[in-house]
Structures are given as C-alpha cells and as structure tokens.
C-alpha cells in the first residue's frame, strides 16, 4: 500500500516538473504583461512537433533538441508580443482574452490540417529504461525531464532575482507605471517575458517528447493544468506556480491510481473549483497577508 502511494507520488512529481514549466510561463506572462495566454499549451505542442521532426529527420535526441526549441520559441514569443499582444494592451477584457484564445484555436486547427490527428511518438534508447529506488520504479526519460525542468526553473528564478532585466521584469509586474517612471522600457520587458515564457513551453514540449505522444490537442491538457496551478499558486507568483504544479501532478497521479484511469482531469478540475470556492486568492495569497 505504502509503495503504491509512493509510486503514485513519484509519478506525479515527475510529470509535475513539466507542468511547472508551462505554469511558470503562464504566470510570468500574467504577472508582467497582465494577459492570460490561452495559447500556452499550443506552444508546448509546437515544441513537441519540433523535437519529433528533429528526431525523425536528423536523429537528434529530444532532450538535446531543447537547444533548438527554446531559441525558436523565444523568437516566436517576441514576435507574438510585438505583432499581436502589444496591440490589445490597455484595451478591455474582450480583446485580451479572445486574442490569445483565437491564436490557440488557430494553431490547433492548423496542426490538425498539416499534422493530422495521429499520435506521434519517439523511441529513444532510454525510453524504456528505469531503475528501482526503495522499491519505487523510476523511468529515466521522466527523471531526465524532471531534473532539466527544475534546472530551467532555477535558472529563471536566478535571472529574475539577480539580473537587471529580471529585476526590471519584476518591477514591471509589481507596478507598471512606476517602473516606467524609473526608466524601464515596458515593451522590451514584455517582449522578453513572452519570449522566456514560450521558450519554457517549448522546453516542456521537447522534454515530454521522449515519453509522451504528440498530437494537435495535446496542449489542452497542459494549459488546463497550468491555469489551475497558477490560480492555486496565486496569480503572477512564479514560486507559487512551481509548487502548485508539483502538487497538482501528485494529485492527478493519486487520482489516476485510486479513482480510475481517466479521472486525472476530474481531480484537477475539482481542485480548481474547490480553490475558487474556498480560497480564490490562491494559497500564497493567504500566507502573505
């Protein structure tokens, strides 16, 4: 019994690392640009397809392909900020919500047209390898993905804490007007925030590819997780999103283990609705006050 629970917790924690990369991106964009990016999951999907083609055409390992997917999606993020999101900033909710929502619909349906709905998988030499640790089964592919996800989150945290650009970003997220008075160029900060968030989504996609199938709707699962994690972890809070994502991964995995295979999402939605009912300000919101 204890081993089953441990196994479920470890499984959840490992996938939670991937959720964290997506959630941190969502919360970063929300914190800095004050926009909810409904298309964040679709950039995970693009990262997956990038890694899939790099692997099947050029035999590049999906983990190595992070080196391609991150810079490519960074540039995509900067372009999206410059050509799309910048034009709806300062407007009301409607354009802000439905612009990224339309982007999400567009990317999903274009990939349905070009990639078809078929599942694509990659088989690497470590895809089926695993080791046992205190009676718990740990697959290498998921462990590598988790460790790299944590390293990337750590680098982002250091970037926000120590560099000038990172500080500017945090300043812009706390008070945009004052930040602007202090000489911070909001457009540059917003573009970098979008770039980083999409690069993280791309990394999540590449890291997933060694053990998760790619298909046009794959992003929906991750973005829903991210939305819940971002609410749970208090909107705009990077560390909160990280912790909440890991917890959600565990909750989902326990749900699958003890309620049934397709109940993972139910658990997640119930978590979201329970959070809304009991503590809409998020967990960290309570600690601060």
């Amino acid at each position: 019994m204890l081993e089953t629970v441990m196994q479920a917790v470890i499984n959840g924690l490992l996938i939670g690392g991937i959720y964290a990369l997506v959630s941190i991106g969502v919360t970063l964009i929300f914190g800095v640009v004050k926009i909810v990016n409904f298309a964040q999951g679709e950039f995970v999907m693009i990262g997956m397809y990038l890694s899939y083609y790099l692997s099947s055409q050029f035999n590049i390992d999906p983990v190595v392909s992070v080196l391609f997917s991150m810079p490519i999606l960074f540039v995509v993020g900067v372009l999206i900020q410059h050509y799309l999101i910048r034009r709806v900033l300062g407007l009301n909710d409607l354009p802000q919500i439905f612009l990224t929502f339309a982007l999400s619909l567009l990317i999903i349906n274009l990939s349905l047209m070009f990639f078809t709905a078929n599942y694509r998988t990659i088989h690497t030499w470590y895809s089926d390898e695993a080791f046992h640790f205190w009676g718990v089964y740990i697959p290498y592919a998921k462990l590598i993905a988790f460790v790299l996800a944590m390293i990337l989150s750590g680098i982002l945290w250091l970037f926000l804490k120590t560099t000038d650009l990172g500080k500017a970003m945090r300043a812009a997220s706390q008070n945009r007007d004052v930040a602007q008075l202090m000489g911070i160029n909001p457009n540059r900060v917003f573009a970098v925030a979008l770039g980083i968030a999409l690069a993280l989504a791309g990394a999540a996609g590449s890291l997933l590819m060694s053990f998760y199938p790619a298909y046009p709707l794959v992003g929906q699962v991750f973005v829903l997780m991210a939305f819940v994690a971002v609410v749970l972890g208090t909107l705009g809070n990077v560390l909160g999103a990280l912790v909440a994502s890991l917890l959600m991964g565990i909750a989902e995995s326990l749900g699958i283990q003890f309620i049934g295979a397709d109940s993972g999402l139910i658990v997640v939605f119930i978590l979201l609705l329970a959070t809304l009912a009991l503590k809409p300000s998020g967990l960290a919101g309570g600690w601060r006050k």
Binding site: I35, V36, F38, L84, R87, V88, L91, N92, D93, L94, P95, Q96, I97, F98, L99, F101, A102, L103, L105, L106, I108, N109, L110, S111, L112, M113, T116, A117, P216, L224, F227, V228, V231, L235, D262, S263, L265, I266, F269, I270, L272, L273, L276, A277, P280
Partner: protein, 320 residues
C-alpha cells in the same frame, strides 16, 4: 433616431415575412439544414450575448446549460415517455438552477479567470456524464427512438417544422433582448459591463444583476440543447457538452457585434455561410478547416474592430 423607428418596424416586418416564407421557397434540404444551423446558433449566440455581451461576463462554458437541457429532456422522454416539449421547459429550469452554483463559483473571479472557470465547470459536467453510465448511458450515448411524424413528441418527417421551432426560439430571445435593452435592467447590465466597481458604487446590486442575467441566459441556452438533440436524434456527452458550442456562442456575438441586439444574428450568418461556402468549394471537409477560418475571422475582428460588424456600422452612421 425617432424618425427611424417606423422604417425600422417595416424592416422587421418584412424580415419576418421573408423568414416565414423562406422554407416554402427553398426546397433543397441541404440549404434548409444550413438555415436551421444558422437560426440555432443565432439563438444560442443571442442567449450568450445577454451575459457575455451586455454584462461583459465572457463565458466559454455555455455548453454546460446546452448539455443539461439536452440530457434533461432526453432522460424524461426515454425513461418516462414525457414529451420533449415539457422536457424542454424542465431542461430550461434545470439549466437555470445550475447557473446558481456555477455562477456562485465563477463570479468570484474576474476577467480571464472567470472565462477559465466557466470552461472548467462545463468540462466537469461532461466528465460526470461520461463517467456515470448507470443513469445516462455514459460515453456511448443513446439514440432518440424514431416515432416518425409525432408533433407532440417534437418529431417531424421534414426539416420545415424544426425550422419554425428554432425560428420561434430566436424570435423569443431577440424580443427578450430588445425588451431588456430598453428597460432599467439593460442600463444596469451595461453599467456593470463597463465598470463593475463604478456600477456598484452608483447603487447597482451587481451580484443580483449578474445572477439574474446568468439564469436567463442559461435557461434559453438549455432550450437549444433539447431542440438540437431532437433534431439530430442522438445524444452523448461529447456532442451535448462539446466545447465547440461554447466557442461558437461567443464567436458569433463577438464577430457580429458584442452587446448589440442583432450582433449574434449577423455574426452567425457570416460565420456559417463562410463555412458552408468553403465546404461546397472544397467538396469534402478537411479536419480543422472550419475553426481555422473562424479563428482568423475572430483575430481580424479583435485587431481591427473589437466592437464587431454592428459596431463598425454604428461608427459609420455616427460619422454621417
């Protein structure tokens, strides 16, 4: 404006006569099918518009009520032999009651997170109907027993009666919207849609107004669910709670003109005809092409003129 009113009335009268005569002129059942689809989504869009357009509560979970309406009437018909006409009204009441707890939860959040929470509640309902096989057939769904020509059971052998049912629903929803637009409630809705805090400060009971308009919007959307199930003779969680219904309800209103009486109708005509033309041009349907077109139109509207087509014409009129 006052001088325009008589000609506006004449225009409405002519439009009504045209709509009543249309099914007798058009004999192609393909064309009639498209017309029913246009009227259905114009109706759902108009119902969505009450909450999303006037009160600016941008729900993407309206299919929750559509599905509840569909399941209520179907369960009543198959288990107890009760006519879907009654089932439709009961379904509307079920949808209306469901809007209370859903609204209680979702209205705690504002802006994009309200939208996300409505998506989540609609998904929870779909998962519930998928999971519980004992009371509602689970994932397989069920077909509605075909009784041939049975008007009392909302079943007909031709498409024309369905056309008139959904035309009637649309007229009712437009009449309600027109009435609300001119009433005190309409001003409350617009005030809270513009700025919730300011509306509250000037004495509008924001919580009550939002709750009431959500109930009305949910009631009407649930009626559409019953109609659609009777029309296609089939129900399962994936169609009854399809995210696409929520998307289209919002899209037709936004494209046509959010918070305007005719916006959803104009938006549906544009979106549905573009789909129909595209499909007849391409011959067979390519997966994803319909929503690709929709999302491009939506993006264009948002970036060029977020007030939609009706908003655009209002601006032109104001200039003249």
């Amino acid at each position: 404006m006052h001088k325009l009113i008589p000609s506006y009335k004449i225009f409405i009268g002519l439009l009504l006569i045209l709509m009543v005569l249309l099914p007798f002129v058009i004999t192609s059942s393909f064309a009639l099918e498209i017309l029913v689809r246009i009227l259905l989504f114009a109706f759902i869009g108009t119902s969505w518009n009450l909450l999303g357009g006037y009160a600016k509560q941008l729900s993407l979970g309206h299919v929750a009520f559509f599905g509840l309406g569909a399941y209520t009437s179907t369960l009543m018909e198959i288990n107890y032999g009760i006519s879907p006409w009654i089932g439709m009204l009961v379904g509307g009441l079920v949808g209306m009651s469901a809007s209370l707890p859903i609204g209680w939860l979702c209205f705690r959040l504002k802006g994009p997170y309200f939208t996300i929470s409505t998506i989540a509640t609609a998904n929870v309902l779909m998962l519930i109907f998928l999971k519980f096989r004992d009371f509602a057939w689970g994932a397989e769904g069920t077909t509605i027993p075909n009784l041939g020509h049975a008007p009392l059971m909302m079943q007909f052998e031709t498409k024309t009666p369905y056309y008139f049912i959904v035309l009637g629903l649309l007229i009712v929803s437009l009449a309600i919207t027109a009435w609300i637009e001119r009433s005190r409630i309409g001003y409350y809705l617009i005030a809270l849609g513009e700025d919730e805090d300011a509306a509250e400060a000037s004495g509008v009971d924001v919580v009550k107004v939002k709750r009431n308009i959500y109930m009305l919007s949910a009631f009407l959307t649930a009626l559409a669910g019953t109609f659609y199930t009777q029309y296609i003779y089939f129900i399962d969680p994936q169609t009854a709670f399809s995210f696409n219904v929520s998307i289209e309800a919002a899209l037709v209103s936004i494209v046509g003109g959010i918070g305007t009486l005719w916006g959803p109708v104009i938006g549906t005509v544009l979106l549905e005809t573009s789909t129909a033309l595209l499909q007849s041009y391409l011959g067979n349907s390519i997966g994803g092409i319909q929503l690709t077109v929709y999302s491009l139109i939506l993006m264009a509207v948002i970036l060029i003129r977020p007030t939609g087509i009706v908003g655009y014409f209002k601006e032109i009129k104001a200039k003249v």
